[in-house]
Symmetry: C2
Subunit: 251 residues, 2 copies
Amino acid sequence: MSTPTLPDPATPSFSPLYQQIKALILQSLQAGEWKPGEPIPSEMDLAARFRVSQGTVRKAIDELAAENLVLRRQGKGTFVATHAEQQVQYRFLKLVPDSGDTAAEGPAERTIVDCKRLRASADVARALALRTGDAVLQVRRVLAYAGVPTILEDLWLPGAPFKGLTAERLRASRGPMYAMFEAEFGVRMVRAEEKIRAVLPDAEQALLLDVAANTPLLSVERVAHTYNDTPMELRRGLYRTDTHHYRNDLG
Amino acid sequence: MSTPTLPDPATPSFSPLYQQIKALILQSLQAGEWKPGEPIPSEMDLAARFRVSQGTVRKAIDELAAENLVLRRQGKGTFVATHAEQQVQYRFLKLVPDSGDTAAEGPAERTIVDCKRLRASADVARALALRTGDAVLQVRRVLAYAGVPTILEDLWLPGAPFKGLTAERLRASRGPMYAMFEAEFGVRMVRAEEKIRAVLPDAEQALLLDVAANTPLLSVERVAHTYNDTPMELRRGLYRTDTHHYRNDLG
DNA sequence: TAGTGGTCTAGACCACATA
DNA sequence: ATGTGGTCTAGACCACTAC
């Protein structure tokens, strides 16, 4: 009944109480106090823990839910969001078949072309907030739909958090790669930004995607971030857009 | 002091009260009871009008604000969103210069190439929820940055709501086209969806964008909707991505 | 000073899921 | 029956804006 985990509400600090609560919950998420897919404590429990009203906790969780960090399920609880969810699988992949029938087409067939350790070039280092020459992993893979190679991806990961990642482990994993990152390396991708251009493939890329050298392709450069906006992946994708398109909703 | 504009809260219907309030406010927005840029009544006024608590009105407005239909300004009021706002200008345009310095580059130079009335083809009619052969307007324009033609747009508008739109009026208007649609035709674009592909230009397109015929370009097909998800514009853009890129944030 | 939206609380009741 | 999140209310106080 004495010092709460929290700055005294009587000294309102500078940010609203619910923002402070949100930050505290975020810290627990980041620290791994609750694992992806698991429920976090109920609103009442959190309210007691932080010595605020349930309504204040609710507003904090509302914002976390809006940012897709947690998932509310009525009657059951609030759960730590995960890329392994069936409903939100491939959250970051916006390429959809022209038919619009995502389900009929089934999951992509995935081929790991390559996975090697190397030293970060200047631009890779900049994107991952590393220093040039730091250890990184580079993965190249191809995704095919109905036997048609459609996506060629090169991705770079910081060496330290992904120590032990090999082509074999990539081939062995079933679901989305980001789900594997969560389960095996404790790295949760929370937000990403993409820069999209139209390009022509080089000879090797054309071969891997089975297209002519003059076929225009989407170049999608993605930087994915974990908590605190820490960049944890640089991904350069080449998308064929003869049977698929990149879909974007503008609110 | 008798019949409220609202179903009796004692008969809760099937959707939450705040959703019903939201729908009623939406109707007033759609009917033009308050014009773009103007304030809507205060939360207290709306609560009295609908005979619910201020908190319920607040939650309804919260959702409208999250959907960018209204804009809250502390201490001043809640305002009908508009495309003419300085801060949210070009809400739907995701092409940004590679330098990232949007401001330094200044607004685009706009050239109206063409504006004509014609009959809707099958695909245009489908996108605009019209019948093939219905009257539509077609506009073609080029946007240039620092003298470099960068965007070539063809857009189709339903004939009826845009009666009286001419190339002259387009050339005369200053701000974003969507702001002009609001002010001159009472049509507010609220939501849009885009399908993006990589393509090669035809001869005419290459000429207008001043690029070689084998230059890959982004094809951005946008359908913009007004209230009630009514499609009101089909726009096909060709973007040069040598100095700009399409930027997308994935939450 | 008055009015607006923003925060915080406390309590009642509802809808859903589980045991 | 119990516990969860979801809705609704009422009232107090804060922060910002305008006059």
